[in-house]
Assembly symmetry: C2
């Protein structure tokens, strides 16, 4: 990814940082601690190894992710969210996650939420009752 130097506003930069299809998902997946590559690949449904590595590299470039390599066999590499900028981004992503859930509830896409373990059936019952129009 090319890093330009003619940005006219801060949000333009941030858009460049997270515009990739998988960036927010990757970051969110790392929110509770470091992850290995194959771990991420397993947990993120539909991503290819190529995309994962590509997007990780860009996240590192922008200071949102850190990489640590440990020699030995098997190879071990850990990717984690950076303390300063990365954690801040997680805050924003957490809000976006809420918006996504809100949208899915509105559209009745409850199955996906339950399957993914994002919400339990009871939680959905409670939420939909409280906001549904009788």
């Amino acid at each position: 990814m090319k890093i330009r130097d003619d940005y006219t506003c801060p949000l333009e930069i941030v858009h460049d940082i997270i515009k990739g299809k998988w960036k927010t998902i990757i970051l969110y997946q790392m929110k509770d601690g470091p992850k290995g590559l194959s771990e991420l690949e397993r947990e993120i449904e539909g991503i290819t190894q190529k995309m994962l590595l590509e997007q990780l590299r860009e996240l590192i470039e922008f200071g949102l992710v850190e990489k640590k390599s440990y020699d030995g066999y098997p190879l071990r590499v850990e990717y984690s969210v950076t303390e300063r900028r990365g954690q801040k981004m997680i805050e924003a992503i957490t809000i976006m996650q809420m918006i996504g859930v809100d949208y899915m509830l509105e559209k009745g896409m409850t199955d996906a939420l339950i399957n993914k373990g994002i919400l339990s059936e009871e939680e959905i019952m409670r939420i939909t009752k409280s906001t549904a129009i009788p």
Copy 2:
């Protein structure tokens, strides 16, 4: 924009909502109240009318923006952030704005910040002093 129904996670949806180059900037520009089209066009540097309308339409589709038309002459149209989902998104965007500013400070892009009126010269002095390594 096509709205799919096979989203596997909430963040995938949100990414679809804000992936456009101008979406976050447009929303942020409306954070303090309704805006007319030409107003937005004037305030957002570099955007074309085509892109502005296109992205606004998508933001409306996803329930982040509302549109109100007033007949008469000259025509008056108001775009505003929706109470529920839109305002929530503004929260996330505000954090992203902070990240962008942080990045610009780190890269020494202070001129752009001052020119845009995002930070004053004194504020930058204070910040850079407190985080700079002597």
